[in-house]
């Protein structure tokens, strides 16, 4: 009878192999511990060896499509040089133009119905394409991204900020319009490809319109 390695030892061999591999990575990325490039390399499908992300120091960059909590986009007020004006009171970019027209599609399509919108009215009582109140209950929100997907005005988008843990929920987890409003500069930062696509679409539409005219 031929000698057969006991199955227990075979398994241990694999574990040993894995352990050795983790050190290989250490040598390969020596001195570049919190380097973004080294992190990307280790975390990709081609990587091997140690796999850990040292969370608070190094973070996995969320992909562009990543969706967490929705936010409303506004175009900031621009000064003469074309730079956004910073509002002194809030420290945020001043609101120039709110994209939301209060059409209500996001509220209709939301599966758990966590979006609440109050449409603005003119003094005569006619509806105005603006919203006065906009609430998202983020404790009901299921991060499905439908609101952003079906918004015809690119006014609601999914945020990338996931570091939202806090000690209380009754006030801070019901996002009102002030919390939800974020500048389009921020939107362009986290969704560069999407913004480029939106821009191209808009230009194509305008070109088509000009042709017609």
């Amino acid at each position: 009878m031929a000698f057969k390695i006991p199955g227990v030892l075979v398994g241990m061999g694999i574990t040993l192999n894995r352990v050795i591999k983790t050190f290989q990575g250490d040598f390969k990325h020596f001195g570049r511990r919190y380097d973004q490039k080294a992190l990307d390399e280790r975390q990709s499908v081609y990587g091997s060896g140690i796999f850990t992300v040292q969370y608070p120091e190094e973070k996995l960059k969320p992909p562009e499509n990543f969706r967490f909590i929705p936010f409303l986009v506004y175009d900031p007020k621009l000064d003469e040089s074309g730079k956004p004006v910073i509002d002194a009171a809030t420290g945020k970019e001043a609101i120039g133009y709110e994209r939301c027209t209060s059409c209500g599609i996001c509220a209709k399509v939301c599966p758990p119905q966590c979006i609440w919108i109050v449409r603005a009215t003119t003094p005569e009582g006619k509806p105005k394409p603006e919203c006065t109140e906009f609430y998202i209950d983020i404790d009901v929100c299921m991060n499905c991204g439908y609101c952003a997907e079906y918004c015809p005005f690119d006014a609601i988008k999914m945020d990338h900020d996931y570091e939202l843990a806090n000690y209380e929920r009754h006030v801070s987890h019901i996002y009102d319009i002030n919390t939800l409003m974020k500048s389009s500069t921020y939107h362009a930062q986290i969704h560069p490809l999407d913004v480029a696509r939106e821009k191209a679409d808009k230009e194509a539409k305008e070109a088509a319109k000009a042709k017609k005219a």
Partner: protein
């Protein structure tokens, strides 16, 4: 436009054709039939049992896919889907009507044991009683719960409106939290004049009422009840097992379910068709892509939508990647149950993370992908997706699967713990309506991807692995082999994926579904995942039922674990690969 090839033909085989079957039944039982159409055969209540027996024994409809019920304004309708393991094809639909007042239907448990839990679920949710059921009690809710939740006249405490979208959200959507709308200021409601102070909860009982029985050995031991769960490290979630033991030997296991019953069906009937897609993600949270796929197939069948070629390929790629990582993770979890604590699981989860990264890049979320839409997929694949997938499928995953195989499958302890444990014969596996690797591990070659090919699975060359012994080891190996077959499919799909559109028509949130009913199904890593949808032409489904493979597989747990030691119970359960989100829904 790449909509050149029609989706896979899903014509039923002639042997499964309802009209032919109806004729056969008519000749045998002249007065059993109420009506017969393509929607199903309606059988008179008193003849159900004999017709079912005839179908099973003479017409080889040996597999009961699904039992559910629909609440119509004038009647209750109990719906059965039966099919044949060897013949495959679309399942045959049987229906029985029950009166609105005191609905009773004969139980099918004497014919199909797999009806056991499903009939209990129907009783629990709709209040239809099954005559002759061995243990008709609530299964998802607790005993003593007031009301039958899936009846249309049942309103839950936070009830707001019959259908979504609610009118209060837009135009004048001043935020009101649900608690304030309910008079009890909580998610509860009580009958009038209810005395909560004097109320005493019911005492737990066990299904086998044979406790004082004394064993015939000289030791005169008594039977003992051991409660496992709902919080237990090895029950894969919040499952509770009431186990009756004789010494260390299992006499009976009664799974107690419903600890994660999240009312998918009730919420789903209020949602729009589109709104249900993200909810299907949360059924079996390991395999959201497959869940999306099965649901979308069902609704598309009803709508008669064609899916562009590229979208079909993307769907298959996503579904098969999910299958690979789900099976890998299960192997890790099973080793965990055997005491190989965490190490193999960590190896498996590492690979899973890589695929989740790709899902995140494509769909936006790691687990709750919400990627498929009616008529296509949500967005096209991001740059570099295919290269990464190719690397994983061709180089990395085969290596990892080999590693996971050599890691412990030859291990002496593993073999001693799994070989010949939890055996279930082919006949029993079919009769208990088990699905997926549990069914195939016992030697029944039944896979929805081959039995009733959906999407574009008929184009790919792959095998359906089957086990021989029907024990835990075979069920374990099934996962390994199936993952390898998935890699085969993936290789072909990644090679052939065409360019083109990913969606038929324009993106639209208002979906019109014509009147009708459909049983759409797909092969989930856990087994046959089916969606029974009844549409009344409105934007919301009238009935939305989920045939959950893990739930029905649990029916066989008692049969499988009888006679084995209590230590084996954990691994027998592990080999089922239950995910409680799907079991309890």
């Amino acid at each position: 436009m790449a909509v050149n090839a029609p989706p896979a033909e899903t014509k039923p085989l002639s042997a499964n054709d309802p009209q032919t079957i109806a004729e056969q039944i008519k000749t045998k039982f002249p007065d059993a039939l109420e009506s017969a159409s393509a929607q199903g055969i309606v059988i008179k209540r008193d003849h159900l049992l004999e017709v079912a027996r005839h179908l099973r024994e003479s017409l080889t409809f040996d597999y009961l896919n699904n039992v559910t019920s629909v609440d119509f304004p004038d009647r209750f309708e109990v719906v059965y889907h039966v099919s044949s393991i060897d013949r495959g094809g679309a399942p045959l639909t049987l229906k029985v009507n029950a009166a609105r007042e005191n609905p009773v239907v004969p139980s099918l448990v004497p014919v199909y044991r797999g009806a056991d839990f499903q009939e209990r679920e129907v009783y629990d949710m709709m209040g239809i009683r099954f005559d002759g059921h061995p243990y008709l009690r609530r299964i998802l809710m607790w005993d003593g719960f007031e009301g039958y939740p899936l009846r249309k006249d049942y309103h839950e405490p936070y009830f707001e409106d019959e259908k979504k979208p609610f009118g209060t959200r837009w135009d004048q959507g001043h935020h009101v939290i649900a608690e304030d709308r309910n008079p009890w200021h909580d998610n509860v409601q009580y009958p009038a004049n209810f005395d909560a102070v004097a109320f005493k909860a019911q005492i737990d009982t066990v299904r086998e009422q044979t406790l004082p029985d004394v064993s015939p050995t000289r030791l005169k031991t008594e039977k003992m009840i051991l409660n496992i769960g709902p919080q237990h490290p090895s029950t894969h979630g919040v499952l509770r097992l009431k186990t009756t033991l004789d010494g260390e030997t299992i006499v009976g296991v009664e799974p107690v379910l419903g600890y994660l019953h999240r009312n998918h069906e009730k919420i789903g009937e209020r949602n729009t068709y589109l709104g249900n897609i993200p909810f299907t993600d949360r059924l079996d949270y390991f395999t959201s892509m497959n869940n999306n796929h099965a649901y979308v197939i069902g609704v598309e069948k009803l709508m008669g939508l064609r899916v562009p070629e590229r979208a079909e390929y993307i769907r298959v790629i996503m579904a098969e990647l999910t299958r690979v990582i789900s099976h890998m993770a299960l192997m890790g979890f099973m080793y965990n149950d055997l005491g190989a604590f965490y190490t193999p699981l960590i190896y498996a989860l590492e690979e899973r993370e890589l695929v989740l990264d790709m899902f995140e890049a494509a769909s936006g979320s790691r687990m709750m992908c919400n990627y498929m839409r009616f008529g296509g997929v949500a967005r096209d694949l991001p740059d570099g997706f295919l290269d990464k997938a190719k690397h994983l499928v061709e180089e990395r995953f085969p290596r990892v699967l080999d590693e996971l195989e050599t890691y412990l499958t030859g291990n002496e302890i593993f073999l001693a713990r799994t070989k010949g444990v939890g055996v279930i014969s082919r006949e029993d596996a079919i009769n208990y309506s088990t699905a997926g690797p549990v069914l195939r591990g016992s030697g029944a070659k039944y896979d929805v991807r081959r039995a009733e090919p959906y999407s574009i699975y008929d184009r790919f060359d792959f095998d359906i692995p089957v086990g021989t012994a029907g024990d835990v080891r075979d069920r374990f190996l099934m996962r390994l082999w199936e993952a390898r077959q998935s890699l085969r499919i993936l290789k072909q799909a990644l090679k052939d994926i065409p360019a083109g559109e990913i969606m038929t028509g324009k993106k639209n949130y208002q979906i019109r579904v014509p009147k009708g009913e459909v049983y759409g199904r797909g092969e989930n890593p856990k087994g046959e995942l089916g969606f029974y949808i009844v549409s009344d032409g409105t934007p919301n489904p009238y009935r939305y039922h989920i045939r959950a493979p893990s739930f029905i597989n649990l029916t066989a747990l008692d049969r499988m674990s009888k006679g084995y030691k209590v230590a084996d119970l954990i691994i027998i359960l592990g080999s089922h690969d239950v995910v409680m989100g799907e079991v309890d829904r």
